[in-house]
């Protein structure tokens, strides 16, 4: 009996083993089929509808395919319904393709992103951006290089519609590796949403300038025991005041993502190379750090904000913060505050005289991966999503009549089901210039938007991108020093030791090789400047 039992257990173990090995062996392979089915000899439109916008253009649609696209964000509740409609009405009849959209959540996209590209899963299209590993992944060869011929052939409508500067902004050393979005917004310009009810009740200073804003915060801090509201309830995840400080001093970034600043003085002229400074080594930064230490000392935010990880937007929304500083999403925060009945809000442009640039087109883009089995088909899918107005709106805002509808002026009205598919919840990289505005937008938001439009400026060097690979080690080390100190200065935790700590910070940056990094940046910028005659 005992012996038989042993035999059985042994057999089960062996069987389990074999099965797990089989399971392991099976996972590879399926993604890698023969390259370029859409380009195969001869055009074949028999599998697609005759009125497809891609019919008669010489593509081969004979094999049905599935294209997998990865985007950032949380999956909307009605995503499957919307995607099913998009597939059955658009992609399947017109491209003989099924689109599959997968989501990388905010909480873990940073860890998953690279793994996804290096792993074996099928990924044809993926969201990328200057802040979302675009340069790094291009350097690692993850994205397909899109030459002019490829773009004109496989992204024909996008090529016709997208402005030239969009392509220029996404290019690295002149080569394009992703398709930028179609509408640039003022994402890099920050304003402040404040508690109007408290301003009225305690007759606080109106925060319509940088100094008045600081006064407002200080006054509110003095009232904290009475109101229970922290003046600026913030944390270590968002650096709320630096952008505002830069706006106040008309400090403009030379290019997206590398913290090199110059004083623009509202002029569009490209800066002279010697006027460019690495933000964290500049005197401005010292000034900023001192101002922040001063605010911290006055109790504008909690002394432990540095160890807090609660989102600051939700602090404003739940009525425990007197201000929230961010881009146009401050209006969302204000609306949420009012709808929960905790107070009323007002949004102030704290630096009304400063010119502002739109966020680059490269702030949101979609790349075709190097490992895609049929990059041509993937490109066509992307092109279709971006160029067909109906399909584009379906993906952006869901089903018309269910999630949204358009009023007589062509503005969109939110319907009850919109919460299950919020407008532009994930599709920022494929939005279009003609995206409808929200109808009945709060007049405060409309006025703010108009002011932004009036004050727009486009610096001459727009389109310059930096390639950090020649100084990769120094760049990585500098980044790590910055990330070690940045939040601590932003929240003024050093108090009266701030100046001493700044010196220590500068020394650490120097040890990490900030000089070589800066030199390389200036060198590349000077070359760009000369080559473009600006």
């Amino acid at each position: 009996m005992k012996k038989r039992m042993k035999k059985i257990v042994g057999a089960i173990l062996a069987a389990t083993m074999t099965m797990s090995m089989v399971a392991c062996g099976d996972s590879s392979g399926s993604a890698n089929t023969i390259n370029g089915k859409t380009t195969a000899e001869g055009s074949d439109d028999s599998a697609i509808s005759a009125d497809s916008p891609y019919a008669g253009k010489g593509f081969n649609f004979s094999t049905p395919e599935t294209i997998v696209m990865y985007v950032l964000g949380d999956k909307p509740t009605d995503m499957d319904t919307v995607l099913q409609k998009a597939n059955s009405e658009y992609f399947e009849p017109n491209l003989n393709t099924t689109l599959d959209i997968e989501f990388l959540n905010w909480s873990d996209y940073a860890t998953k992103y690279s793994l996804l590209l290096s792993g074996g899963e099928q990924v044809d299209l993926i969201y990328t951006a200057s802040w979302c590993y675009y340069n790094d992944e291009v350097a690692a060869g993850a994205f397909k290089k899109l030459d002019n011929e490829f773009i004109q052939t496989y992204l024909p409508y996008t090529y016709a519609e997208l402005p030239e500067e969009a392509w220029k902004e996404i290019a690295i050393n002149g080569d394009v590796y992703a398709v930028p979005k179609g509408k640039a917004t003022f994402t890099a310009y920050n304003g402040a949403v404040v508690r109007q009810d408290l301003i009225d009740k305690y007759s606080l200073t109106t925060p319509d300038s940088w100094d008045n804003f600081k006064t407002y915060l200080e006054e509110l801090a003095n009232l904290q025991s009475e109101t229970g509201v922290t003046a600026l309830n913030t944390n270590a995840n968002r650096e709320q005041l630096f952008t505002l400080f830069c706006q106040e001093n008309t400090l403009q970034g030379v290019t997206e993502g590398y913290d090199f600043l110059y004083q623009a003085n509202n002029s569009e002229k490209a800066p002279a190379p010697e006027d460019i400074e690495y933000a964290y080594m500049s005197d401005y930064y010292t000034d900023y750090a001192l101002q922040m230490a001063d605010l911290a000392g006055k109790g504008v935010w909690s002394a432990n904000a540095i160890n807090d990880t609660t989102d600051s937007q939700s602090y404003f929304e739940n009525g425990t913060s007197g201000a929230f500083v961010w881009n146009s999403s401050v209006f969302t925060a204000g609306d949420n505050l009012e709808s929960s009945g905790l107070g009323t809000y007002a949004v102030y442009d704290v630096t009304p005289d400063t010119k502002r640039s739109r966020g680059a087109y490269s702030v949101d883009a979609t790349a075709i991966t190097e490992k895609s089995a049929d990059p041509e088909r993937a490109a066509l899918v992307l092109d279709y999503m971006k160029s067909d107005v109906d399909l584009n709106r379906l993906l952006l805002g869901g089903i018309e009549g269910t999630h949204y509808e358009l009023d007589a002026d062509g503005n969109r009205v939110t319907l009850d089901k919109a919460a299950d598919y919020p407008w532009n919840g994930w599709a920022w990289a494929i939005n279009r210039q003609d995206e409808p505005d929200e109808a009945g937008l709060d007049e405060r938001a409309v006025a703010y938007g108009e002011h932004c439009d009036e004050m727009e400026f486009v610096p001459e060097q727009t389109g310059f991108t930096f390639d950090p690979s020649p100084v990769q080690n120094q760049y990585t080390a500098v980044q790590s020093v910055v990330s070690e100190y940045q939040q601590s200065f932003a929240l003024g935790i050093y108090g009266k030791d701030t100046e001493k700590s700044i010196e220590e910070f500068h020394q650490a940056l120097k040890d990490a090789g900030v000089d070589a990094f800066t030199e390389e940046f200036i060198k590349q910028y000077t070359e760009y400047k000369e080559a473009n005659g600006i």
Partner: protein, 300 residues
Amino acid sequence: MGKLISRNKVLLIMLVPALIYVIVFSYIPMAGIVLAFKNYRYADGIFGSPWVGLDNFKFLFVSNKVWQLTRNTLLYNIAFIIFGMIFEVGFAIILSELNNKVFKKFAQGFMFLPYFISWVVVSTIMLNIFGDNGVLNSILLSAGGEKYSIYNNTALWPVIMVLVRLWKQTGYGTVIYLAAIAGISQDLYEAASIDGANVWQKIRYITLPSLKPTVMIMTLLALGNIFRGDFGMFYQLVGSNQLLLKSSDILDTYIYRLLLTTPDVGMTAAAGLYQSLLCFVTIITANWIVKKIAPDYTLF
């Protein structure tokens, strides 16, 4: 040999899953170490990417921080191992000497509980007790005292780290030692009682010597990871508070910050290899020393 295999057939089959597990998840991925010496490009794959020599390691040494970090990691782990052992063995003995069964189970459960709390939650609990607006300050203020925040007191942090770690891990370790104590033959204790030994003498001359092999093995195993910090703990408790980072930055958190902004596969592999090499050297040395002193207790 053939006879040996056929006689232990069942045992060998039982060993196979563990063997396969180790091969698949430990030995095969080891080939990936080559990435530490390569400039990884997706198109070329792991083995096709160009060699770059030791370039990937340079970033670790470029800011001269690596020594301070290695020291921090090492000292923290030494403190964790030593204090952890003392507390775990101590509590295991206390629990085993308790006669009240209900209280014993209750105490054991309470000690084990923190082990299941995630570090994220622990950090929030800490903030709510010791933070600026936390419980501690409320009590201090109502008692007419001054506000006090441990988050601004750098010097305290090594102690706080050790205490929090002990609070969280002791319960788990205690279970292992309790099991070892349960394995000690009762005959020994009975004989000692007849000879008139008191509780302390029994602990000193029976329990502790019997626990020696377990302590040795556990310590050797812990030594193998002495250059790997508890990332979750340090990252959650310290976050980006630079004041605390001075005394609480370890290799793992530094590398995390370093590579979060630039996800470079080669550099990550280099950092991992650096830690693994240090661990390897430590455990080989430790095992060698144990072999000289007490050859019965070595790992291999």
